[in-house]
Symmetry: D2
Subunit: 478 residues, 4 copies
């Protein structure tokens, strides 16, 4: 059943607004409790300086509410003031001192072995949970705790690159975050030029794909009638976008990014627009890596746009191909590549000349080699578990999108050339097929592909030289 | 730092309102996915009728998003249509078929025994989680799933009274609900005569302490300047209050409920009020039993009231004593009660006359016996784990309140007499002591008690007959 | 340009919400100023009791802000406490004492005659404004003044029925209200079962067409999927609806009201609905008579419904015919009516039998006479200024609606029979023609009429007996 | 009665939010009507190009709603596209062609002379209203008309400086704006770093007192805990602030502006702050000149701040003295000034040296002359109608503020020196006295003055040389 337009707001619409009131009030309440808790804790200690480890042990064993919140706040405050190396010590402590309680485990283990009932199994289950799990949960009671813990995990991820053991600590963070950042709690918001400045500041900071250079540049991405932006937020981190997507409305499938962002371009009115292009998707919180939102974000935005701009019939991305250059390079180095023969490898030497995109002959030579290779890259190059090697492809195909078109010389920025050899890809989000594609991809590893791309691959199989006109129909082969 | 008045709303205040937009939109999105998911599931099955067990297994093994949401929706829809006995079968199935996977457990167990590392411990931990745990989590993906699961647990609790085994199923529900109904997500809302009718309908229905007989009666609890009501809500169950408290503003500590709710009473203006009386607290969701909100509700309401009505200096309840009659009865039946001597037991026979409150002599006789016994009841009668036997006392004392005054003949309704022999109690919430009291109660079992009550107990210890004037100062003893 | 769905609310959407904050705060500020103003006024007077006339003079001559607001508040408060006869004195005072200042007028008049320049004309213009005009404007400065003045005008209208002179007072009220209730300030709100109870209470009270008998009855007009209700509000009278319309969604043009409101009727889902029926429009504020909102209300509701329920193709009313019985009666009494011949007049005698609708023969006889007369009534019976005599017809046709169908025995309630002889009419709001019809009606007095009705009129012109089958096609004539 | 904190929002709080929904929707409706109206108008004209005058005549005589809105929109659209000189023609046309209808006036005049009744007086009153009055009212029906008309009046004011006749046109604008911008409709909003960027953009643009140089500079006026900003908005011009005030929280009365805005200054926490300094008040809409908001803005902000930051006890401005230099200059040129004797005039020659503030001797010399003259300027220098000549003084004293302190060398910016010879003044807003001061100022012309300033004036009267230590206590005289 379709709801009546929110433009005629119902009284019931106003309910949620109350949340903030109470959240903020709740924040104050927590702060009050935390303050009093710290007093209690302080007076109990009477001057003895306790270590972080002691504080964490106190927090784990505290039964009172106030002292709990107070201890959590103190631990997080102290943590904030630590330098990097001391923070590493703190993580080590989480890893070892707050791991599974061995004594309790042995005990539960023995009990279970003796009598493997539901009760002893449940006890064993509890005993196997690392103590840091509960510790993190309790730290979250501190005012503003959630954001602090997201920042802490950011450091855990960084540290785990040096010390693989810390992956165990990360696992606990990730398990808890998965619950806390449940998709049902996420709120979609429109970002535009009437968005609060403190949020916009962060959009500028977090844009990861096509840098926003100034407030003026930001304005040009939000103000024109053919530009839109949407973000997900979480109720406990109200001013922090989690992920956002920038959208351009056009009348055709765009083949390169410079054209899309060009200064003097003609603005398309909403009535004329037929195509919504998702040209930039940025995750904002490194500490939430692995907690996926992008999938739902795109689907929800597609749904909103369809409803509000009925002239829109096509929803697609203009996406980078971040792994292509690396893959080409590795294929090229193989003595016996199934992708490149000797002749092609020779052509690839042109890549050594940074200015190749501007040189017609080199560029054309490379196109003949790389365009068909790209189809190969997307459709045949797989990771160990059978997914496409390209991370952006994995994301969109996993969402149910279709590999629609591969665009040659579409991003000639330094990064565009270094990572994707100038390629960009359109992934098509067809609301009719999105779920089917997703299911097929997840269950069978099938990649939905437009016939044009598919043909280019078949062509390549037949004759590696014949591929060009398939990738770019209408181009005659020489 | 104190926030600027919300009466001058900041632009930033408006952020939360957006939640609903997106939540509702998200709800629609989920519905769309669920619908499409069911189509996929249906077409995959091609007509074969699958049992609930099959559906649950499918849901647990599904990897696709749409089919997952679709399956969850279908399971819940089918469950709704079941009759009681079939629902019991469903619960049995959760208990047995979706218990711990024994094979996997044995395997993990063996691996751990062979090499008790972090990795094998983590694997064993996972293996010990009953499969229904994940199943419930996935059922929550269905649109409106949370409310459905709360209703389901309501039935689990009912069923577990007949079949104690089901406590294991309940444990999984409770563990998940504890996370989902995290206090940080609760929203405090004022309930008044301008509250939407669909919410007010539920306030009428859920009032558990002093029945609301009509819309007119409800109006008399919400409209007058000296009546207030507050409730907690959860963002995923937007129209369902979780718990609410009714407040009366007075100029003194009220000694009985009839006076407080009397029709013709003079309304106290907010400026004149000195005392806020919490005279009714009702939990609304039986399915959330054991997930405690009342504690934070009262504290937050105290904080709000203090800020907004500066003339308020006293915050207390007028509470029933639901376990008193039963306790008196059991003491009375004991051959050697430390509470009642033979003489007193004789007096208690007056209780057999239902009209005793209206008969001066009987009533006075009973008062002399029961008033001191009440102090005994609150301060000495403990459960096995050292808490007061009275559940309402446990709740308020656990929150940090103080046992302030015991009121004789304070509730002479049928229920009031049957459960509490007419007694009512004022528990005092003093913001200064609330955290201290709570800590002492939780950690040492100490019950904060007003000197009046304490004295009456000491008096009783000295001479069981001397107690009367202590409980009700100014009353001469005969 | 179409706005993006409000379901994804923009940050900018939140701006208006701030109004209330500030309005309410502004209200408090006004109250503070009014209080202090009254103190100042009181101390200045030092005990002398001033008459209402004195207070009004003071208000008109006051230059200070606080004393102005204070005086305005005092005048309105005193007015509220007056009984009817003293209120009449107050109105007389407005009429005479606060009429045009004759001395100033003579002066301005002389100056203008001597030298008729722009300046003297402007001065004369000012001098011709009755002093009560400014007085009313200043009374509006009191907190809550607008609503008080609306109530005051309600009494002016009542009083003017007895004393025609008071029309001059009313003219000043109406002129000011026209500005204050400017359509740009009106807010359309959806009324449903989640609307605050204090608003719903007023919907029950103000329903003027088909009485709402209880909260349960109200629920049945708001809750079902095929029932909707919309109202206009004004920012300075926040809890007072100005006008509301009740809508039923159906699959066909309804021919009678009982069927539409029937208890056991099958609820039509929104997807199936093709027709929106405006079956009740009620003005709420008698004091705003002559300030027209209904026109914009219907148009805006049509626009909202079209957008939100795309399956709707027909928008029409099911309206009473309040002037029909009276008109028939007056025609019948004319010695030479162009509408009724002697034979028809005889048939009309059946109307003397209150039970005629239940008696087939009488009913059928009346139908043959009254059905064609109804077409005559709507299309030929005009007021002096050339508008239809039926007030409801004037309203809808003036809005641009088309006279679509006349329904026989459509409202057999007492009121329906007494005023409309059981007739009801469908007025069609076709968004394509609405403006054209409105212009034609206003400028040329043309009544847009469905061909069926028009044919019945032509038929009647040819042969007054031939009309029946035209009004109700398919009915054979005998 | 004090309202319950908005932090626990009531359901009723949400009502106003609905306004925007409907306003925006109403805007769309107006647009639809305007579009259709223009079609009707266009088709009626069948290709004849009508002049602006014709369009305005059509608008005045149109009776249809759509054609009215359509014509209004077309007139405003055409007006927007005119160049300055053609706009002047348009204003001339308003002045002459749309002045009072002379024929109708003569007629009404004659009728009134013949029989001076209420009816003929009312008719004469109507006849004396210039036709442009109704024309402007009807232009306001166009979508966005209000803002257009505000811009139009901006031009009227500019043009009236060249052509005094246009004051008559301006009078009609001002009369209508006074009604439309009724204070009851104004909404106070907090402006902070979470305010929408499109609003902040305008704050940057409209700041009239101390220029905001960049987004960074703006941030430094909004973000720190000791900085606040408030603005008034009007519901029909939602994104356009009307007036705003910037506030600094301090611990003492600031004596100069550079110190207040200094980059490295220590931020005062809200708890420590005792003083709120209104250091910049900017009117945003030149077209609303003469429609006063500042008065209510400051009072309302004082009220909000008092409530929210209880530690605040002093509310005052740090204001420029824009008329001082001019006044000194004119006094100095008088052959016989009561302010400056020959000796002082000689000292004033130092002003010719632009660098005098940096030169101790010159500066000290000037101080001795100018400081006492300043007291004279504020307390004795009056306009013809007995108000202070300084416009800023008139504003604040008229609001009920007290002249608190005159600060020497308080603003040494170019503008500060050129207009105020470096002086700045603190006006004190004492909530206790504000209304009394206002009444006394308005009714008796009395200027509330701190004893320090008053003493300096008395001293000056006694001996013009004795004044220094009174103005700056503690300074010894030489």
């Amino acid at each position: 059943m379709k709801a009546l337009s929110k433009r005629v707001l119902r009284f019931s619409d106003r309910i949620p607004e109350l949340r903030i009131g109470s959240t903020s009030s709740f924040g104050e309440l927590l702060q009050t409790i935390a303050d009093r808790g710290r007093e209690l804790v302080a007076s109990a200690r009477s001057g003895v300086d306790r270590s972080m480890a002691d504080l964490c042990e106190d927090l784990l064993s505290s039964r009172g509410e106030a002292s709990g919140v107070g201890l959590a706040a103190e631990v997080l405050e102290r943590y904030r003031s630590l330098d990097k190396s001391t923070r590493l010590h703190f993580l080590s402590m989480l890893l070892t001192q707050f791991d599974i309680d061995r004594t309790a485990l042995d005990c539960a283990f023995a009990a279970y072995q003796q009598n493997p009932s539901g009760r002893t199994a449940a006890a064993l289950h509890r005993a196997l949970e690392p103590r840091r799990h509960e510790l993190i949960r309790r730290l979250n009671m501190a005012p503003g705790g959630t954001l602090e813990l997201v920042r802490m995990r950011e450091f855990v991820l960084e540290a785990a690159r040096l010390d693989a053991e810390l992956a165990a600590v990360d696992a606990d963070f990730q398990a808890l975050f998965t619950t806390w950042f449940n998709r049902g709690f996420l709120a979609l918001r429109r970002i535009d030029w009437s968005t609060p400045a403190n949020i916009l500041e962060k959009i500028i900071r977090y844009e990861a794909v096509h840098v926003i250079s100034s407030w003026q540049d930001l304005r040009s991405r939000l103000m024109p009638a053919d530009r839109l932006c949407f973000a997900f937020f979480h109720p406990q981190m109200d001013d922090e976008p989690l992920i956002f997507v920038e959208v351009a409305l056009t009348r055709e499938t765009p083949a390169n990014i410079a054209f899309l962002l060009a200064d003097g371009r003609e603005v398309v009115s909403r009535e004329q627009a037929t195509t919504a292009v998702f040209y930039s998707i940025s995750n904002c919180q490194e500490g939430l890596r692995g907690i996926s939102f992008g999938n739902f974000l795109i689907k929800q935005v597609v749904q909103e746009l369809k409803k509000e701009i009925p002239s829109l019939v096509t929803f697609l991305t203009l996406s980078p191909v971040p792994g292509f250059a690396k893959w080409v390079d590795s294929e090229r180095r193989k003595p016996f590549s199934v992708v490149f023969g000797a002749e092609e490898k020779a052509v690839l030497n042109s890549l050594g000349d940074d200015a190749w995109p501007a040189k017609a002959a080199k560029s054309e030579g490379l196109r003949k080699v790389l365009a068909p290779a790209a189809a190969e890259y997307f459709l045949r190059a797989k990771t160990e578990d059978g997914k496409p090697v390209d991370p952006v492809a994995r994301f969109h195909l996993g969402n149910g999108a279709r590999l629609e078109r591969i665009n040659w010389l579409a991003d000639v920025s330094n990064r565009g050339l270094a990572q994707g050899l100038g390629l960009m890809v359109n992934y098509l989000y067809d609301p009719e097929d999105i779920e089917k594609n997703h299911e097929d991809f997840v269950n069978k590893g099938a990649v939905a592909t437009a016939s044009g791309v598919r043909r280019s691959l078949r062509a390549r199989r037949r004759n590696i030289r014949d591929v060009v006109e398939a990738v770019e129909p209408g181009i005659k082969r020489d």
